[in-house]
Amino acid sequence: MVMFWVSLLAISILLYVLLDGVDLGVGLLFGLASGEARRGTMLSAVAPIWDGNETWLVITAVILWGAFPLVYANLLSAFYLPLIVMLLGLILRGVAFEFRYKTQRLRWIWDLSFAGGSLIATFIQGMTVGALVEGLPFTNGEYSGGAVGWLTPFAVLCGIGLCLGYALLGACWLAKKCEAEVREVAHRQIPVLAVGVLAFLVLVFAYALAEHLPILHRWIDRPYLFVFPAIGAVAATVLALSILRHNDHWPFYMVALIFVSAFGTLALSFWPYMIPFVITIDEAASPHSSLAFMFWGCGVVVFPLMLIYTVISYSVFRGKVGATAGYGHH
């Protein structure tokens, strides 16, 4: 039962990162784009999917609370300010999708809140993962780092790294979904961002070597974990080839694969810890009566339904979006 909920949690987090990573990344690139035509096209490439993507964040939160309350309580309270700022960033960028078309004169406000909200949310998500990898200060099973105990150079580095990663995902999505100028710009951005992401990964590795982070020992202890980085390396190679051939679709799937391999590396090297290296999965798990209740009521039927629903809504909006103009010009 615990394994079932760990798997569902992992699937939800991975889906959130991959799906919302796309539209957060487009939000980051949106900040760099100029001209209403380009901006409008970029928005319409993610407009139908962003809200559904964000739902996976809520699903992650409720799985955490219901199945692993100890982790929910410890992590959310430890990351108090960053988390709240991230949520408000997500709200601001979310309403911007609608509100920017209600006004001409004040559109810059909503464009700013879209790009700014995306940047804040992405940076904080990366920083959170970085702080987790490095290890949060805990005393007797309770967070003891104070208001900014998560703020370290490594965490900031990871925040920047995730911005590059999401931007890369977003650029690949734009190459896949758009035509004309937006597609061409995306094709120019992909190699730059890909090199940036690889440089970031090398930097993380170097930092880990220098600092002897606990997580590195786990990689050395468990050589089979290198399966995941290996998958990532293969994906990176295919990515490079597809960039050279100006393919519209392969880069996206390869970057997604790189994300999956990074996620797998991270998750398996934490194993069996949920908050490394303080709280294990079994310590964090809810009692059986809770897990079983959720299994029969939510996990076994409704969760697959939600996956099917996600697939359907993506297939409805497949194909390229209009190249010349955005939507809703009033």
């Binding site: 319409s44 809520v58 939160a61 100890l70 959310l76 949520l87 309403v95 809810s286 939600m306």
Partner: protein, 470 residues
């Protein structure tokens, strides 16, 4: 009173949840109203019902969207500010919230898409079915939230193991008199909110002499529904009072402004509770046994007073005392308005009675005020407990949360919420002001996951960019 992280956290939770409840209570009622309209449209074939349906569907979209956006925050706030509570009650409250997310999200998201895209693609009966499923989804959401909150009011079905609430009987947690009096009370409140907003809109159009046919239907149906539901709501309100009297004597004594044990009890209609000296000033009181009759359905029952409860277990007396009276007052006004309006409407005289039309127009805040003050009564009256009788609010907070952090978060919450609330209500106002004038066009860009895009009040003339199967 000292400004502490505890006080700020309570204010923050109160603020964000008060903001949130406005939108679901509106959209739950609207979803049900849309179902009724679609059924009428199918049954009678009159185009006017269809016009009203399409009009209110747009408003539903905005309210629903703001409810979703402000609801995401709630899923996180238990952990950020109340880590001790979420650690202890996670095995019970977590699954209940998960049921809400999983069940309601599935239904709403799937069938909301049909509501927007499906008119021409599905048979009429299926379109009606989809509308009903969206309404069911919003109600299911309300149900699990009420189960969740009711467990905090009166915890059933658990054992304490290692400082954690471990559920040992989910049927007791879900099926108990507390849930099944409070859930209908909330659901009816949401339906009444919808009814009064619809009636107020109708009254506004009649006063402005626009949309004659639609306005009369809105008025008649809104007030008529309210006239039927109000007495039922009073009954369920009474049943909720019954559970409070049984399980939460401290809340009951504060609501009633009752200081001493009485047998049988008297009933304070209005007063100014003087907590310092443990008495009521300017009290207007009905003699015994009215208090026992109202609280315990008995001529002779003994009623508990605050003096027999240790003061450290008192709620802040004045808040539940006044908010309860405001809620009941709003209810009485709504009852009077609904009955009088329905009577005049039945006599075909309502359209000429301008004072009553104005009153109906200005009545739209009443259900919102009643819902918010009702929740204040329930939640503030539960204090000083977060899980009544078991866990104190002061012990439930994140232990290392500082006043500084709590201040920063509260300030930015207020700023951002004020910002989006202003825009959101402005768009709803503009939609209602424009009215059902234009023939409804399929909003090409509105999609299941983007309900707020329905608020685009001008039809979009450009071709749809996302063609299925392209």
């Amino acid at each position: 009173m000292d400004i502490t992280a505890l006080l700020l956290s309570r204010i923050q939770f109160a603020f964000t949840i008060t903001f949130h409840i406005i939108f679901p209570s509106f959209s739950i009622g609207l979803a049900a109203w849309l179902t009724v309209l679609e059924a009428l449209s199918l049954a009678t074939g009159r185009p006017v019902y269809r016009g009203i349906f399409e009009f209110w569907l747009k408003i539903f979209g905005v309210a629903f969207g703001l409810g979703v956006v402000s609801g995401i925050v709630m899923a996180f706030q238990f952990g950020t500010n109340w880590s001790v509570l979420s650690k202890m009650s996670g095995p019970i409250q977590g699954p209940l919230l998960m049921f809400e997310t999983f069940w309601a999200f599935m239904l709403e998201a799937s069938f909301f898409g049909v509501l927007i895209f499906g008119r021409s693609r599905v048979p009429p009966w299926f379109y009606l079915f989809s509308t009903a499923m969206v309404a069911l989804g919003t109600s299911i959401s309300a149900f699990w939230i009420m189960v969740n909150n009711s467990w905090m009011q009166v915890p059933f079905g658990y054992v304490m193991e290692n400082g954690v609430f471990v559920p040992n009987d989910w049927t007791k947690i879900i099926f108990n008199s507390v849930v099944w009096s409070r859930f209908p009370h909330m659901l009816l409140a949401a339906y009444l909110t919808g009814a009064f907003c619809v009636a107020a809109t109708g009254a506004w159009y009649v006063l402005r002499k626009v949309y004659h046919a639609e306005a009369r239907i809105m008025l008649r149906m809104g007030l008529g529904l309210a006239a039927v539901l109000m007495p039922i709501q009073l009954l369920f309100g009474h049943l909720v009072g019954g559970y409070v009297n049984t399980y939460q004597p401290s809340k009951m004594a504060a609501i009633e402004g009752r200081w001493n044990d009485e047998k049988p009890g008297s009933e304070v209609l209005f007063a100014w509770p003087d907590v310092e000296n443990r008495r009521n000033l300017f009290a207007i009181t009905l003699p015994p046994p009215f208090g026992s009759l109202i609280d315990s359905d008995s001529f002779t029952a003994a009623e508990t007073g605050l003096n027999s409860i240790p003061p450290e277990n008192w709620p802040p007396v004045a808040i539940p005392f006044f908010t309860f009276r405001i809620m009941v007052g709003c209810g009485m006004l709504m009852l009077a308005l609904a009955w009088l309006g329905s009577y005049l409407s039945y006599k075909h005289r309502l359209a000429y009675n301008r004072p009553l039309l104005w009153l109906t127009f200005f009545s739209f805040p009443l259900p919102f005020i009643a819902i918010i003050t009702g929740w204040f009564t329930a939640e503030v009256g539960r204090q000083p407990w977060v899980v009544f009788g078991v866990l104190r609010t002061a012990d439930a907070m994140t232990p290392f949360l500082t006043t500084q952090q709590a201040t920063i978060s509260l300030v930015i919450f207020c700023a951002v919420y004020a910002f989006i609330f202003l825009f959101g209500t402005f768009y709803i106002y503009r939609l209602i002001r424009i009215g059902p004038r234009k023939p409804f066009e399929i909003p090409h860009l509105a999609v299941p996951n983007r309900p707020m895009s329905l608020a685009d009040d001008e039809p979009i003339t450009e071709p749809h960019h996302f063609v299925a199967g392209e």
